[in-house]
């Protein structure tokens, strides 16, 4: 089982977390919604697996390429 890091494509803020640690996710599932420049940017699961770590909380500021969450791929 490989650990896959989910990175932010933008600098912005975490608006809403959509998935909790321990949840099973499929490719394309929305993990959280970021907010930047008045746009909502969904962060999708790049692989299927289990969300093992959520590294940000709602309202946190995030940078481009920052690791947001970790998925244990199946």
């Amino acid at each position: 089982m490989a650990k896959v890091e989910v990175e932010s494509e933008v600098t912005g803020n975490v608006w809403k977390l959509q998935v909790a640690v321990g949840a099973a996710v499929a490719v394309g599932d929305v993990l959280m919604i970021l907010e930047s420049m008045k746009m909502e940017i969904p962060v999708e699961a790049p692989v299927a697996g289990t969300l093992t770590e959520m590294l940000v909380a709602e309202t946190d500021a995030v940078d481009e390429d920052q690791v947001l969450a970790i998925i244990e791929a199946v």
Partner: protein, 441 residues
């Protein structure tokens, strides 16, 4: 005339309003958040006042803080620009309660046009052309019934707000059931009002809007139309005046119908009546923007009017300018800090920011080299406008100006803008609201 005008905005429009104040011999008061403390409009204004913080809610949307700044500055007028509090009826009323002039229509107009369902009803009452649409919908079942009656596909929309937030095209009952909750939730989160409705989805459509001006004495005029069909995510990217490939007579009839209606209803200050035009040439009311628009500059270039100065003069009780005539063609491109392919926002320090300096080209920007583009506000870096006696030449000048615009430090959509401007479809004037999508991905 006013003595001292406070600009309740930031960026390109704040700078534009300060310029209009210079022209009218009025002192200007500019506001700035922490992130905007190096913005060029601050040095150009007579005075500037800092708003501590960075987010829009802490600063440019913070009504108590703004009202205090108005009092402290001794301003006798407030210009809200566009976005932020420009269409907030409560704010306009609070400004007026201080005995200060609000440069915009009366608060009743801001609230009646801010509710798109109410606005549609008002237009229907006065027989203004309108495509099919529903009232406010309280359940999925009600929405499905209305959509079936209108005929799928339909556009599901929040009644409040703007900027395309929450809007979605749905093809059938099942799609509507899925989209309905999401639309309500997004509308509630973004505008504090979860009301939604459906409208006929017109495609391919042209977005054609009429610029109107109205004084405080019941007189209304138009300044022709703009075409803003090039959009992504329901947001405008390229705008022009006059509209290409339209029947002049039917556009002028629409403009005159708009003037007649707004005179009957007693509108004041400037505004824009937005319509969609169906492939068969019919117009239908979309919404009315009760403020200056981002794309006002193209109208200024083809009419010679200074719409921002007119706004201020009209708010001070001045007369309408003489009816202008159309001269030439103007095209505007919005340079966004976003990736040309993915449209993802891009932030960073502007290591190089060198706008083109060319004849018949105008650049409106709130940024300067060395400033940082932050995630706190919208991604507009600059508006680049070009004028020429022919449309083809205006497009050519704009494309060359964009090519010369040197920006390093953030990604921009300039490559995309140039591809569109150089395309056969755009050059031929065959524009519609789905065209931009064809240049992506």
């Amino acid at each position: 005339m006013f003595q001292r005008l406070l600009v309740a905005n930031r960026g390109a429009i704040a700078r534009r309003i300060v310029r209009a104040c210079h022209r009218l011999g009025i002192e200007s008061v500019a506001l700035y958040s922490d992130a905007d403390s190096q913005a060029p409009y601050l040095a150009e204004a007579t005075q500037s006042i800092g708003l501590p913080g960075n987010t829009a809610a802490e600063t440019y949307l913070n009504k108590p803080l703004l009202l205090q700044a108005i009092l402290n500055s001794g301003a006798d007028a407030v210009h809200p620009g566009y976005g932020f509090l420009a269409e907030d009826a409560d704010f306009a009323q609070q400004v007026m309660d201080l005995g200060v002039h609000f440069v915009g229509p009366s608060p009743q107009w801001l609230s009646s046009m801010g509710d798109k369902v109410a606005a549609r009803e008002l237009m229907a009452e006065h027989n203004f052309p309108l495509f099919a649409g529903s009232k406010e919908l309280n359940s999925v079942t009600a929405a499905q019934r209305a959509a079936t009656q209108i005929g799928y596909p339909v556009m599901l929309k929040p009644a409040a707000g703007g900027g395309g937030i929450g809007m979605q095209v749905v093809a059938d009952d099942q799609g509507l059931a899925v989209a309905f909750d999401r639309c309500q939730r997004m509308a509630q989160a973004a505008f504090g009002n979860g009301a939604v409705f459906v409208e006929a989805w017109i495609s391919p459509a042209r977005h054609i809007e009429v610029q109107v001006l109205a004084d405080e004495h019941g007189n209304v005029m138009h300044a022709f139309e703009r075409d803003c069909s090039l959009q992504r995510r329901q947001q405008k990217v390229i705008e022009e005046a006059p509209a290409p490939l339209v029947d002049r007579q039917s556009v002028l009839a629409l403009a005159e119908r708009s003037v007649e209606l707004l005179a009957t209803l007693g509108y004041n200050n400037v505004g824009t009546l937005e319509t969609l035009q169906s492939p068969s040439g019919e117009f239908g009311f979309l919404e009315m923007n009760t403020r200056i628009q981002v794309e006002h500059g193209v109208t200024e270039m083809v009419t010679g009017l200074d719409l921002v100065a007119e706004q201020i003069q009209l708010a001070a009780g001045g007369q309408l300018p003489p009816q202008p005539t159309l001269s030439g063609y103007a095209v505007q491109a919005r340079v966004y800090a976003e990736d040309s392919q993915t449209s993802m926002p891009s932030t960073g320090r502007l290591q190089v920011f060198a706008p083109p300096n060319m004849r018949h080209v105008r650049v409106e920007t709130g940024y300067a080299q060395g400033m940082t583009v932050t995630p706190f506000y919208d991604p507009l870096l600059a508006k680049v406008l070009a004028w020429a006696p022919t449309r083809e030449l205006a497009i050519g000048r704009l494309a060359v100006a964009l090519q010369a615009y040197e920006i390093r430090g953030v990604r921009t959509n300039i490559a995309l803008l140039r591809r569109i401007l150089r395309s056969d479809e755009f050059l031929a004037g065959r524009v519609h609201t789905g065209l931009l999508q064809q240049f992506l991905g």
